[in-house]
């Protein structure tokens, strides 16, 4: 989204404003900008025309204005996003005009898209229930209210870069840090659905906690009446607020069939959840096992009974594993709980897996399914989601062939794919897409890379004499990471493979020796061609396995990991040195930059391999647990089968 806005504001389509529009917009802008001055200067028309170059409009009056447009808050936020104010952090002239245009488009019933503003539109209508003086007055009060409100919101979610209070936000520690492993890009709109009602309430600090709590209890928006409760606002502001809010609420009810805003997952949240899901489980169509999810959710520092309850709510089919929609629902519930929402008695309709799957299909991976889902999507979300998802799906379809070509992990191809990465990034209009397409590209590349390296290593592992049956199991496991269709059938197969006892292990050389030997072997390789660093890592693994240690699984992976880690520093160290000595001077700089790229690629690849191996490890641990349980069950059976001797 942000790239889209950036693209728009940077070199976007020129805004075609008619004269009337120009006049109206500049007036509005001046009004907002003038009010933002804080001083008593209202925005008379002449001042408006005289100062079109006012730098920014404060977000307070702007937000007010937008709300006066009687559009649902979601649309408003979308507009804010689209016009680029989120990206740049303020409402500049361009952003403001674009926003007004979008409001006009939304009010005419057009979907909120950049293209909508290109056509002829009527002027946006604002329910100006306030005079200029009121706006000024109300704005200062609102600004105060906004600022007062923000700390609560920040302690709530803290990750929302509210336009008018960015500095405050950054001083607070994120409440999502336990969960958010990539805290740098938390969803901007996490705050939105949860405190959707709160932005309307504008209550004072001490009442924020109580009033929202009560308001949230029925999970319906009776926020109109409850907004009358906290009386710490100027009455006319309140009255206008209630009026505008009630209108908005009607609009809201018309547009959405689910009034329980805190349980609705926005697009940004959804992406965040999906990314988290992917970090736990590469395939979005597969599911996360119970133990993995447990470890992950335990990081949220909620109490175990609460987590247990959340799991109960979200695991609809009670299979002990979370599919993507279930995971999103669970994550959302956890997020809500951490922010003070009481847990619902039953799973809210917006968090039902069917709803989540329909509203947010998994188009990045399955575009065919998306077509079938598009009919079931509720109509109001359809234009927004469809357009966005279409873009995503089309682009991702185009992106898919690109990374799959770079399977072998050759550096040159990796560099090329890096440049290919850059291209779709420029093309994309959604900021979500580059993020996802990057991860998208990273995923197939890492998976395919891991498949080649691990499979080769596994095959090598089976060459030496008396291979234990376990490597076969890991082989199927490793490949199952990539061939997710094989995931299910491979599990019982691997389990059965474990039952026969492994044969006697032949004596094996010291692993350190093997590593040193392999390192020594690798060094000449590195000295020869630093650009083949990525290739040498699979080679190195092969060398490590050519020593015939038929080790158990963990040993196999440890040397692999160690090999990988040893190779990284050695690559870095030995890389530049041979480059300087071997190559001639004129080519040194070119080589070193090429070298750097190669090193970085190698590092990245190694990191990906590490991640893959870490995943493998966790999966194997899981398997181990299951095997233990099986064993216990079998022992039980054995006990029963044994004749009763003691009576």
């Amino acid at each position: 989204m942000e790239a889209a806005a950036g693209g728009l504001c940077g070199s976007g389509p020129p805004l075609l404003l008619s004269e009337g529009e120009q006049q109206c917009y500049s007036e509005l802008f001046a009004r907002c900008a003038g009010a933002s001055g804080g001083g008593p200067g209202p925005g008379p028309p002449e001042a408006a025309r005289a100062a079109p170059g006012a730098t920014t409009a404060a977000a307070g009056p702007v937000a007010d204005l937008f709300r006066a447009s009687q559009l649902p808050a979601e649309t408003l936020h979308q507009i804010t996003e689209l016009c680029g104010a989120k990206r740049v952090g303020y409402f500049g002239l361009t952003q403001f005009y674009v926003a007004l245009k979008l409001i006009a488009a939304a009010q005419s019933g057009l979907p909120v898209r950049i293209e909508s503003i290109k056509c002829e539109l009527p002027l946006p209508r604002f329910m100006m229930s306030k005079t200029d003086a009121e706006i000024r007055f109300g704005n200062t009060a609102e600004l105060h209210g906004t600022k007062v409100q923000i700390p609560y919101l920040i302690t709530e979610k803290n990750t929302f870069k509210r336009i008018d209070d960015e500095d405050k936000q950054e001083t607070q520690s994120p409440s999502m840090s336990p969960l958010a492993s990539p805290p740098s890009s938390p969803p901007h709109y996490q705050r939105v659905p949860l405190s959707h009602g709160y932005s309307k309430l504008r209550s004072s600090t001490e009442q924020m906690h109580s009033a929202p709590y009560e308001a949230r209890q029925p999970l319906v928006p009776p926020e109109g009446p409850s907004s009358g409760g906290p009386g710490a606002k100027p009455p006319r502001h309140q009255a206008s607020l209630i009026r505008s809010f009630s209108v908005e609420r009607e609009l809201q009810d018309n547009s959405t069939s689910y009034p329980d805003e805190p349980w609705r997952i926005t697009e940004e949240q959804r992406e965040y959840y999906v990314n988290q899901f992917r970090s736990l489980q590469p395939d979005p169509s597969s599911f996360i096992s119970g133990s993995v999810a447990k470890n992950f959710f335990t990081k949220s520092k909620l109490s175990i009974p609460e987590l247990s309850y959340i799991w109960e709510l979200s695991d609809a089919d009670c299979d002990g594993a979370l599919t993507l929609p279930e995971f999103c629902a669970a994550f959302h519930l956890i997020v809500a709980r951490k922010n003070g929402y009481p847990l619902p008695e039953g799973l809210p309709p917006t968090l039902q897996p069917e709803y989540l799957q329909a509203a947010f299909p998994k188009p990045k991976w399955e575009c065919a399914l998306f077509d079938s889902y598009s009919e079931s999507v509720p109509a109001n979300q359809q234009p927004r989601d469809l357009n966005r998802m279409e873009k995503l799906s089309i682009k991702d379809m185009a992106d898919f062939p690109v990374p799959t070509q770079d399977v072998t992990g050759d550096d040159k191809q990796a560099l090329k794919s890096a440049t290919d990465e850059a291209l779709p990034k420029d093309m994309s209009e959604d900021s979500a897409t580059p993020k996802d397409s990057n991860s998208l590209k990273a995923r197939p590349r890492s998976r395919s890379y891991s498949s080649t390296s691990i499979e080769e290593a596994m095959k090598r592992g089976e060459d030496p004499p008396t291979p234990p049956p376990r490597p076969q199991k890991t082989h199927s496991r490793a490949s199952s990471l990539d061939l997710n269709k094989v995931f299910q059938p491979s599990v019982p197969a691997s389990k059965s493979g474990l039952l026969p006892p492994p044969p006697a292990l032949p004596p094996r050389p010291c692993p350190s020796q093997s590593e040193q030997a392999s390192e020594a072997e690798v060094h000449p390789q590195l000295n020869r061609a630093p650009s083949q660093a990525a290739e040498s890592s699979p080679t190195k693994k092969e060398i490590a396995y050519s020593q015939p240690p038929s080790k158990p699984i963990r040993r196999k992976f440890r040397p692999e990991n160690q090999a990988t880690e040893n190779q990284e520093p050695s690559t870095i160290v030995s890389g530049p040195a041979p480059v300087a000595t071997v190559k001639t001077h004129p080519a040194v700089q070119k080589q070193s930059s090429k070298q750097k790229k190669a090193i970085q690629t190698a590092i990245r690849k190694n990191k990906e391999a590490n991640a893959v191996l870490a995943r493998l490890n966790s999966e194997l641990q899981q398997q181990l647990k299951e095997v233990h349980q099986e064993r216990i069950a079998l022992e039980n059976q054995l006990e029963q089968l044994r004749p009763v001797t003691v009576l």
């Binding site: 247990s308 799991w311 299979d319 039980n636």
Partner: protein, 141 residues
């Protein structure tokens, strides 16, 4: 239909016990406790055939003056004990009813088990399980 429902772990301590009339809970606890001996007797007598569903259901453990106690054991030696009011004649077709009710209990129990945050051996605090048991017990009156 049940007046009291209890889930007993393999080591014969209760994971979950709940009765409808809040008075005389202790009496129900005692009854459940004594019924465990009967359950153990039936299990040991059964021998190998534990996989069959019919064997999971132990049937009437013993009748008392007011109540009947039914038992059910799972493959992992978790026992479900249900105390039913004798005057409740709707449970005449006890095989079907008990099988269905114990089946529901068993399903709910496996759902609780599937929750990764539940450690086997903890007391069952699942609200879904509670709800299911309440539905079974409310049917009485």
């Amino acid at each position: 239909m049940a007046v009291c429902v209890a889930v007993i772990a393999k080591e014969n301590y209760p994971l979950y016990i709940r009765s409808v009339p809040t008075e005389n809970e202790l009496k129900f606890h005692y009854m459940v406790h004594t019924s465990l001996d009967v359950v153990d007797e039936k299990i040991s007598a059964m021998g190998k055939a534990l996989v069959d569903q019919r064997e999971l259901y132990l049937g009437l453990l013993y009748p008392t003056e007011d109540y009947k106690v039914y038992g059910y054991v799972t493959n992992s030696k978790v026992k479900f004990v249900m105390v039913v009011d004798s005057s409740n004649t709707a449970l005449r077709d006890n095989e079907i009813r008990s099988v269905s009710m114990f089946r529901k209990l068993h399903n709910s129990y496996t759902d609780v088990m599937c929750n990764p945050f539940y450690n086997p051996g903890d007391r069952i605090q699942s609200r879904a399980f509670d709800g299911m048991v309440t539905s079974m017990m409310i049917q009485v009156c």
